[in-house]
């Protein structure tokens, strides 16, 4: 039975959400192979967010079934006050499945989403908000020029601007450095990089405010008004990371008449799963601190043997690459499959 009075009923104020909610989805099933640096990269992301975000925000981390060591690390970050809401999903419910949670339940008026491997630079939120202000029809705004048209030229929402004298379409050629950085982030092949260098991006300008943006946004990172996010759920979620499922977000946004836009300058950088000197230098510039990278192996690497070098060369042939990928994926599924 109830004894005494619940002190929580004494009229205390509950926590009020901030204007901006930032949501990150994390999935690190192990700390080796593809994911060997994933935790350090995620910590760099959180630190860069803290240093580069000029306004208060709530941070939600949705852990999509990571291994125990990662969950423990997340709890430490949560206990240190770095995370406002920590969602620990027992299973990987897919990126779209996690989006369904985030978009439906985050209470903040603006939701900034990012994959767990994105470095934030100062000015990212201001740049996105400036675009949202100049383009009230914006549904998603990325803080990096968008190079891929996920709608394959079929987007309808932007047509509404064609007869609006406040807006002017214009092509935009990013600088070589911006393109090279983007290509580095996604690990683009030389052929793909060449295509990006040759092809200008579709831009648009809001004439009264002279606000310029690139048409298109990226799933890797974007700002979405809560009112739009609420309208796009539920998204189909049957696989962990299926392009068709994540793209259903774009189709819904477009069908609802909202624009995909991005900034002309890169205010975020896709760190991926590797850490190099260039990244470390920039991280230090943003945060003023060096990341806590685990110490390197004290034993210097030996020159690989002749057999190993030959095997490496063989592994890079297209046929062998496919087979190795299949084996790797199979092992991954065996090691990290849910037994549900």
């Amino acid at each position: 039975m109830r004894t005494g009075r619940n002190p929580a009923k004494s009229g205390l104020e509950a926590y009020t959400p901030k204007e901006l909610g930032i949501a990150l989805i994390l999935y690190i099933p192990s700390q080796d192979g593809y994911f060997a640096n994933a935790l350090e990269i995620f910590k760099m992301q959180i630190a860069s967010l803290k240093a580069a975000t000029s306004q208060p925000y709530d941070l939600l981390v949705f852990d999509n079934g990571s291994c125990r060591a990662i969950v423990n690390e997340l709890r430490e970050l949560y206990q240190a006050g770095e995370i406002t809401w920590l969602v620990l999903s027992r299973h990987n419910i897919g990126k779209a499945g996690a989006w369904n949670w985030i978009f439906a339940s985050l209470p903040n008026p603006y939701i900034a989403y990012a994959d767990a491997d994105v470095l934030f630079r100062p000015g990212w939120i201001e740049a996105c908000q400036e675009i949202l202000k100049a383009f009230p029809q914006a549904g998603m705004v990325s803080a990096q020029p968008n190079f891929y048209d996920v709608m394959d030229g079929q987007g309808q929402a932007q047509r509404a601007l064609e007869n609006n004298s406040d807006y002017q379409a214009e092509s935009y050629q990013p600088s070589i450095e911006v393109i090279d950085e983007y290509c580095l982030g996604i690990g683009a092949t030389p052929e793909l990089a060449e295509r990006f260098h040759q092809q200008p991006l579709p831009g648009i300008q809001h004439l009264p405010t002279e606000t310029r943006a690139v048409l298109g946004a990226s799933h890797m990172q974007f700002l979405i008004p809560n009112s739009v996010a609420r309208q796009v759920t539920p998204l189909p979620a049957t696989k962990a990371l299926l392009r068709a499922e994540t793209m259903s977000l774009d189709h819904k946004i477009d069908q609802l008449g909202y624009l995909h836009l991005s900034t002309r300058q890169p205010y975020v950088f896709h760190m991926g799963n590797t850490i190099n000197e260039r990244l470390l230098t920039e991280f230090q510039q943003i945060t003023g601190a060096a990341p806590a990278i685990p110490k390197a192996n004290p034993n210097p690497q030996k020159q690989p043997s002749l057999i190993r070098r030959w095997l490496s060369r063989m592994a890079r042939t297209p046929g062998a690459q496919r087979q190795l990928q299949r084996i790797y994926n199979l092992l991954f599924q065996i090691l990290h499959s849910d037994n549900r």
Binding site: R2, N6, A14, G33, V87, I93, N100, T238, L242
Partner: protein, 314 residues
């Protein structure tokens, strides 16, 4: 940069949500005073849920900034595979705020909500779902018969009077012992409980062969997710005391508020039921105590609240 392909892309299928999400909100800021037994109560709550819920379900716990002992326990339960979604909030988000989060995010077609001081008995979910399915207009179904204010079930009564194939019976269908057990768990005196019991009657409905009593409560209920979404978001600027709005909104919107005829859940409050008590509390005395004097009691409560506020504001 990205090196290699993310193996997550090779995962063919991800687990699909169970039809029912059982959602529980916890708030135990420290293990003392009012909350001295709350962790043990929570353990009874979850153990009884595991034991008496054979249907497939996902368990979602929203922890509203509890102390580390409680979070450790919840984390262990998650690691043992018993909690599918554990949400840890850095600050108390209010019960309304937690409801906003879970009712919008919970993936199940049905959501069975319970406070963290509820004990579950066999058949609680089965009977709740049976009523929801037999009464398509049912908004919320509690798994315990209750006598609630008439103003909160007027729509249910109105519907029953005009609906076809609905049998309405009035009488005393809730046994005194069952009524007493619940009302005393709220900290109400036996005298007051008796007075309430004698002054009210129950209304029992039968539709499609399924019986239900009129009235539901917000400490435990099952509903369709699509129904609760009509009422979101709830106001959430206080930790407690604003969730009664759900009962009013549900009734105003014309949804039925129903309960099972049998007590299939029990409100434990902040102390363990005698049957599972692990610590002996000091025997209560029937003699009036000094601190029961209204003036002294109010003063002590103020001090108690002040201490809590200090703790809360850390």
């Amino acid at each position: 940069m990205r090196l290699g392909q993310n193996p997550a892309k090779s995962i063919e299928h991800v687990p699909q949500p169970a039809p029912v999400t059982v959602a529980i909100v916890t708030y135990i800021p420290f293990l003392g005073g009012y909350y001295a037994e709350s962790l043990e109560v929570l353990k009874v709550c979850l153990e009884s849920l595991y034991q008496h819920t054979p249907q497939p379900y996902d368990l979602l716990i929203f922890d509203n900034a509890s102390c580390s002992e409680v979070q450790d326990y919840l984390k262990n339960e998650r690691e043992a595979g018993r909690i599918q979604y554990l949400i840890l909030a850095g600050q108390n988000y209010g019960k309304g705020g937690a409801w906003n989060f879970i009712f919008q995010g919970a993936p199940g077609e049905y959501i069975a909500y319970a406070d963290s001081d509820i004990q579950f008995f066999p058949g609680w979910l089965e009977r709740s779902l049976e009523i929801l399915q037999a009464y398509p207009q049912a908004g919320m179904v509690s798994a315990r018969p209750l006598r609630t204010p008439a103003a909160l079930y007027s729509s249910t009564l109105d519907w029953a009077k005009i609906a076809e194939d609905v049998q309405i019976e009035e009488g005393s269908f809730i046994l005194w012992e069952i009524y007493r057990d619940h009302v005393l768990s709220l900290g109400i005196s036996e005298e007051q409980a008796r007075q309430w019991y004698d002054s009210r009657v129950d209304t029992r409905l039968t539709h499609q062969g399924v019986q239900a009593l009129i009235g539901a409560a917000h400490f435990q209920f099952t509903l369709r997710k699509v129904v609760i979404q009509e009422f979101l978001p709830f106001q959430m600027d206080r930790p407690m005391g604003q969730v009664r709005a759900l009962d009013e909104l549900m009734n105003t919107a014309g949804w039925l508020r129903l309960a099972t005829c049998e007590p299939l859940v029990r409100h434990m409050g902040n102390t363990l039921p005698d049957s599972v008590k692990v610590t002996q509390l000091a025997a209560a005395t029937s003699r009036p105590r000094l601190w029961d004097q209204p003036v002294l009691r109010r003063t002590l409560l103020r001090i108690y609240d002040a201490i809590f506020r200090l703790y809360y504001a850390r």
